[in-house]
């Protein structure tokens, strides 16, 4: 139940409340560049959603399997050279950016070639957007968010699993689609408006984006409101209870002990 709530809230947050484009400003380039016509925007949105899901899968896999300290593959390799314990501490997260961008661009290229060969009709309608996506920040942003929720957490239980990661990516992509489709609808209407010359094109698009961001702020807090509404009353009471149900477990902290500040 809790897991389900988590998934729903991650989805809602990524798609609407903290919309990738309107809240985090990622994917602005296509948001301005490819929002002139609704059908183009829909194609772009679908392509991004598709690629972002693939990228999320890849980045989650690579992060948990290779990059984080104690990841199975890297510690297996390291295990040949040094002791098991030392191998478990090998931290490759510094490579994450370069690995992500590498895998994104390769997978985009692969998917493009594949679709082009086997689904020419599909390629015509949305494949042409694929190469544009390599440089779309939204994809990398989703990977980074997943990384920070996998590698950057203090408590292992908080780390995201594949399901949460994919939800974030999928609904982040849907949120992007939502924003760009709304924007393209508005821009098609703006073609019939007497916009002052200096504001034509990108400037008015940005202003409209601002008003959209303003409107989307109305959703702030919907996630906590929903969580409250969805959590059964007894669970709320339990979480708030003064007495824990079970005895606390004591675990040694892995972090190195630091004496004082100025050491």
């Amino acid at each position: 139940m809790n897991y389900l709530i988590d998934i729903v809230l991650i989805a809602l947050s990524a798609a609407v409340i903290n919309n990738f484009v309107l809240y985090y400003f990622v994917g602005i380039c296509p948001f301005i560049g490819v929002s002139r016509r609704v059908d183009m925007a829909v194609g772009m949105g679908c392509a991004v959603t598709f690629v972002i899901s693939i990228a999320a899968f890849l980045s989650w896999t690579i992060t948990t399997m290779v990059l984080i300290p104690g990841a199975p593959i890297s510690s297996f390799i390291a295990g040949f050279f040094v002791s098991k314990e030392a191998a478990a501490t090998v931290d490759l997260t510094v490579l994450s950016y370069i690995v992500y961008i590498f895998s994104i661009s390769s997978s985009v290229q692969f998917v493009e070639m594949y679709v082009r060969k086997f689904f020419p009709a599909l390629y015509k309608s949305f494949g042409v957007f694929l190469p544009l996506i390599t440089t779309n920040c939204a994809i990398l942003f989703a990977c980074l968010t997943i990384m920070s929720n996998v590698a950057g957490v203090e408590n292992p239980a908080d780390a995201w699993d594949l399901g949460r990661s994919l939800t974030l990516a999928l609904f982040g992509g849907i949120g992007f689609t939502l924003a760009i489709v709304i924007m393209s609808g508005i821009r098609e209407d703006l073609d019939l408006c007497d916009v002052p010359e200096p504001f034509k094109g990108a400037a008015i698009t940005l202003v409209v984006g601002g008003i959209l961001a303003l409107a989307f702020m109305g959703f702030t807090g919907v996630d906590s409101g929903l969580r409250k509404a969805m959590t059964p009353a007894e669970e709320v009471a339990m979480e708030m209870s003064v007495e824990p149900i079970q005895t606390a477990m004591i675990e040694p902290n892995l972090q190195q002990q630091i004496r004082g500040i100025n050491d």
Binding site: V38, V181, I182, G185, I186, E188, D189, L190, C193, D194, V195, P196, F199, I204, V207, V208, G210, I211, L212, L214, A215, F216, M217, G218, F219, T220, G221, V222, S224, G225, L226, A229
Partner: protein
């Protein structure tokens, strides 16, 4: 042909002829200006009620917003080097609606900045009257709502030191969301509660709104869509969560719902063109209002709901292109 040629002869006293495309006659009684005048007339009960309940606070907001709206419209239009068209009353309508949507306690610069933004970013930047995508008054209000969160937030409506009774209470929606207190439906209906100065009286909004719909200046589909959707969702919320003394009528009469449904959502420029589209638009506003009221951090969602639906209006238009007669 002699007589004709006399008539035709240039410079004589004959009739001056002109040519024009068909049709050559038009319904000259119904003009854009009359629509705006209708809205002004329909606003009279609301303005009267706001002045009655909020006294000086209301007068101040109205004066500030109307003056600022007219001045900014004049300024921006002349910046574009166009003819200044204050006489079409649209700026005045925006000013009054904006003023009515502000709390009485807000300082003067809130109304002034809101008017400036409403006219600049909400209207003229899109090309002026008839071109704007978003309702200018709501753009202005949303801007100051976020900009001066502490002056416009739910809590800011209360001013214990206020000289008017209403202003020392909590707004009905905030009282409910914050502490689960339900205001009496009677007060909500007549408007003796705190809130934005024009939104308190359900009665006044109904009178003005029905006038607009009867005059066909506003399309009835939109308010019907909003109210029916809110009624359904509020009814469901009541059933599922237990009303806590807060019932469907509170949702209908409380907050800016009626004011928004009849006066802001019906802004023809920013709502869809076809009757079907208008109903969808209204229903969307209603649904978003309820989502925001029930779940979000804001006690009221009319403004955000209308802005959001304004944004999808082009898409609604696109997807509700009517089938011409004879099109299967």
């Amino acid at each position: 042909m002699s007589k004709i040629s006399e008539i035709e002869g240039a410079g004589h006293e004959g009739p001056t002829l002109n040519v024009a495309p068909s049709p050559h006659v038009s319904d000259i009684t119904f003009t854009t200006k009359r629509m705006m005048t209708d809205v002004l007339i329909a606003l009279v009960p609301l303005v009267a009620m706001s002045v009655f309940v909020f006294r000086g606070y209301a007068v101040k907001q109205l004066v500030v917003c109307v003056v600022a709206c007219l001045a900014s419209e004049a300024l921006f239009v002349s910046m574009r080097g166009r003819k200044i068209t204050l006489t079409d009353c649209s700026a005045a309508v925006t000013g009054i609606i904006l003023a009515l949507s502000l709390p009485g306690t807000a300082p003067w610069y809130v109304g002034a900045l809101a008017s400036f933004v409403a006219m600049g970013i909400g209207k003229i930047i899109f090309g002026g009257l008839g071109m704007n995508i978003f309702n200018p008054a709501m753009v202005g209000r949303a801007f100051v709502m976020i900009a001066f969160a502490s002056l416009m937030g739910a809590g800011a409506y209360e001013n214990p030191a206020g000289v008017v009774d209403a202003i020392s209470q909590a707004t009905p929606l905030n009282a409910f969301k914050g502490s689960g207190v339900a205001t009496s439906v009677f007060d909500l209906f007549f408007g003796f509660t705190n809130g934005s100065i024009g939104e308190t009286s359900a009665l006044a909004a109904l009178i003005g709104g029905i006038f607009l719909c009867v005059r066909r200046t506003a399309s009835w589909e939109i308010p019907v869509g909003v109210l029916s959707c809110v009624a359904v969702l509020a009814g469901l919320a009541d059933l599922s969560a237990g009303a806590g003394g807060y019932v469907l009528l509170h949702h209908l009469f409380g907050g800016a719902l009626l004011f928004g449904a009849f006066f802001i959502a019906t802004d023809p420029v920013t709502s869809p063109l076809t009757p079907r589209g208008k109903f969808i638009f209204g229903a969307g506003v209603g649904a978003l209002v309820m989502i925001i009221r029930l779940f979000s951090g804001y006690p009221e969602g009319v403004m955000f709901a209308i802005l959001l639906m304004n944004a999808v209006t082009p898409l609604i238009n696109r997807w509700t292109i009517p089938h011409p007669m004879g099109d299967a």
